[in-house]
């Protein structure tokens, strides 16, 4: 997805994990994904560099669709669609 497409996504759940270091964002994502429906979009905000690698790999293993990451402003916005 392009950055413009990511920005225009209708996000069902935004998880702000910017206050935590690894493995905080991954655990927050894991807990939050259980609260949304299949097909819903979730966004994880993280300032942890490792998260932008961890989350796409986690999505692939869990069967969720990783949609892309927006970088900038000192943190990452990572988008995924629940399987």
């Amino acid at each position: 997805m392009t950055q413009e497409e990511l920005i225009s996504l209708q996000v069902t759940k935004a998880v702000d994990a910017r206050g935590t270091a690894c493995p905080g964002p991954l655990l927050e994502a894991k807990k939050a994904i259980g609260t949304i429906k299949p097909g819903d979009i979730m966004e994880v905000l993280s300032a942890d560099e490792g998260t932008k690698v961890d989350i796409p790999k986690w999505c692939a293993k869990q069967g969720h669709e990783y949609l892309g990451t927006i970088e900038g402003s000192g943190y990452f916005r990572i988008f995924m669609k629940k399987h």
């Binding site: 270091a21 493995p23 655990l27 894991k30 807990k31």
Partner: protein, 141 residues
């Protein structure tokens, strides 16, 4: 599909290695792994009710002179204590904590009630060996 199984032999009772175990455990439960933790020798001391995440009572395995710096950095980065990691992981996936009976006795703790409340049972070495044989991933810390 059956969840993948991880078996963790937790020998260490040092604050740095316990924290590492908590971080690894977090990754495992994020992947829905079933985890069995067998708490051995030094590890059992840390699980005593009067010790747990009281860092004053725990050693560092590596660079003991840097313990204060290590703990301060964890605090600054808002990293959970090892007990908090273990406790949270038990709410996310199937994580069972088994305390070696001999290890408990060495440190003066014989009953399950002598350990922090995240411990599930007291077991013998046979249970640990069986779990290692059945696990997809084996770690020893």
């Amino acid at each position: 599909m059956e969840p993948k199984k991880m078996c963790l032999g937790l020998f260490s009772g040092s604050v740095d290695k316990l924290t590492a175990a908590g971080i690894i455990l977090s990754g495992a439960v994020a992947d829905d792994m079933k985890v069995d933790i067998y708490v051995l020798l030094q590890g059992a001391r840390a699980f005593r009710k009067d010790i747990g995440d009281n860092s004053e009572k725990l050693q560092m395995a590596e660079n003991p002179n840097l313990k204060a710096e290590f703990l301060e950095s964890l605090k600054t980065l808002k990293v959970k204590t090892w007990v908090e990691f273990f406790r949270e992981c038990k709410t996310i996936s199937d994580v069972k904590i088994h305390i070696c009976g001999l290890a408990g006795k060495i440190w003066g703790a014989e009953k399950l009630d002598d350990f922090i409340d995240i411990a599930d049972d007291i077991c013998g070495i046979g249970a640990y060996i069986t779990a290692t044989q059945e696990a997809d991933v084996n770690l020893f810390i």
